[in-house]
């Protein structure tokens, strides 16, 4: 059990690093120029949406991982 928990912790850490990389690569250089003074609001809105999608994907992957690592214990 304990090794499973350490494995789950390590997997979360790897997912955070990878998720951060995707955030920087995808969202970092993203800008919009066509909408005058509102361009930064639009760009931020799109960044928020993409970030939320990434968080949802992160949670879904974690749920699958949780079920895989703790499949024996989660028969409570």
């Amino acid at each position: 059990m304990k090794s499973g928990l350490y494995g789950f912790l390590f997997a979360m850490w790897v997912l955070i690093i990878i998720g951060g990389g995707i955030m920087v690569v995808l969202l970092g250089p993203f800008t919009i120029q066509q909408f005058g003074d509102f361009h930064w609001i639009l760009a931020s809105g799109i960044k928020v949406t993409v970030a939320l999608v990434l968080v949802v994907i992160w949670i879904l992957i974690l749920s699958k991982l949780k079920n895989y690592i703790f499949k024996k214990e989660l028969k409570f």
């Binding site: 059990m1 850490w13 955070i16």
Partner: protein, 330 residues
């Protein structure tokens, strides 16, 4: 460098000894006023004083005011105001049973001084890949961060000494990471959190003489969250907190809604005849970190606490590795 070392030493000593010396009279006062709760994990009918958040906030306020005398940083004001607000929110919850949404909403409001004081940077720093600028998203992150860290620490406050012991490990890890990143002033601002947790652990460790209560747990969590924001170490702070995050994640993914622990009917853990802790087979009970630790078999309360501390040390090592990785760019 000497202008940093002296305030650091003074504030750490003050933080530690204010909590160390104010907690025993607080315990006497709370017992006298009958502000006690039953320790559910003891065979005998043991009543424990609560809330210990009063001595914690005292130690934090005094030490941070001393630091403000040296540095005059808006970041220190943000720490004092938001942490005090979180303490008051927890104190209300200690005295009166509030709804499940009270704490998250109130803590989101408590985060506003960080924005009004401008004590943040809109860049979110990631290891290996660098920074990403997210001005609007970052404001949302501030609003969400304090309720998350506050409630995450609160959710792990289930056994004698776990919340304060866990905070000792997580907050000193965060301070070490801030020193690695050469953010010396915020590292010094963060040190009192570790020292008040350490002093409080003396009275909170098994067998507890005092419980932090919601006021103490939210004080721990909110201050930790503010330091993460003002220090620009949000990702590192999240990694150091991973065992507690796992606990909240497991709880929420099994319950599937925001709910107070006391509203849950099913019991995740029960006692054996010799009063060890044992995971139940109750399908309606939430999955928690303690329940997973106990899945292999019954353990004493002390053994479960140490298992959580070992996980905290492991995630602390990952956080320190991450801090070193911040200096590396792909």
């Amino acid at each position: 460098m000497i202008e940093l070392i002296i305030p650091a030493i003074i504030s750490c000593i003050i933080a530690f000894f204010v909590v160390y010396f104010s907690t025993p009279p607080l315990i006497k006062f709370l017992v006298k006023k009958n502000y006690t709760v039953k320790d559910m994990n003891k065979k005998e009918n043991v009543m424990v004083a609560r809330p210990g958040g009063i001595s914690l906030i005292l130690g934090i306020i005094v030490s941070e005011i001393i630091l403000y005398g040296f540095f005059q940083l808006n970041e220190i004001l943000a720490v004092i105001i938001t942490t005090t607000a979180a303490f008051l929110i927890g104190y209300v919850d200690d005295r009166k049973v509030m709804g499940g949404w009270f704490k998250p909403v109130a803590l989101a409001i408590a985060a506003l001084p960080i924005i009004f004081l401008g004590a943040y940077d809109t860049d979110l720093a990631f290891p290996l890949f660098g920074d990403v600028q997210i001005p609007l998203l970052y404001l949302g992150l501030i609003i969400f961060m304090i309720p998350i860290t506050g409630n995450t620490i609160n959710s792990i406050d289930v056994l004698n000494g776990v919340a304060s012991g866990f905070m000792v490990i997580a907050s000193f890890t965060l301070s070490i990471c801030l020193f690695i990143l050469q953010n010396y002033e915020i590292a010094i601002v963060s040190l009192p959190l570790g020292f008040v947790s350490l002093a409080f652990y003396k009275y909170h460790k098994i067998p507890s003489k005092i419980f932090p209560g919601d006021s103490g747990a939210l004080t721990f969590g909110a201050m930790y969250g503010v330091i993460a924001i003002i220090g620009g170490v949000e990702i590192i702070a999240a990694i150091a907190l991973l065992p507690a995050v796992i606990n909240s994640f497991l709880f929420l993914s099994s319950v599937k809604r925001v709910v107070e622990h006391r509203q849950i009917k099913g019991k995740p853990v029960e006692h054996t005849d010799d009063f060890k802790l044992k995971a139940t087979n109750d399908k309606t009970a939430p999955v928690t970190l303690v329940r997973l630790i106990l899945a292999a078999g019954p353990l004493t309360e002390k053994q479960v606490g140490f298992a959580i501390f070992k996980l905290a040390i492991f995630s602390g090592i990952l956080a320190i590795i991450t801090a070193f990785m911040m200096g590396v760019s792909l």
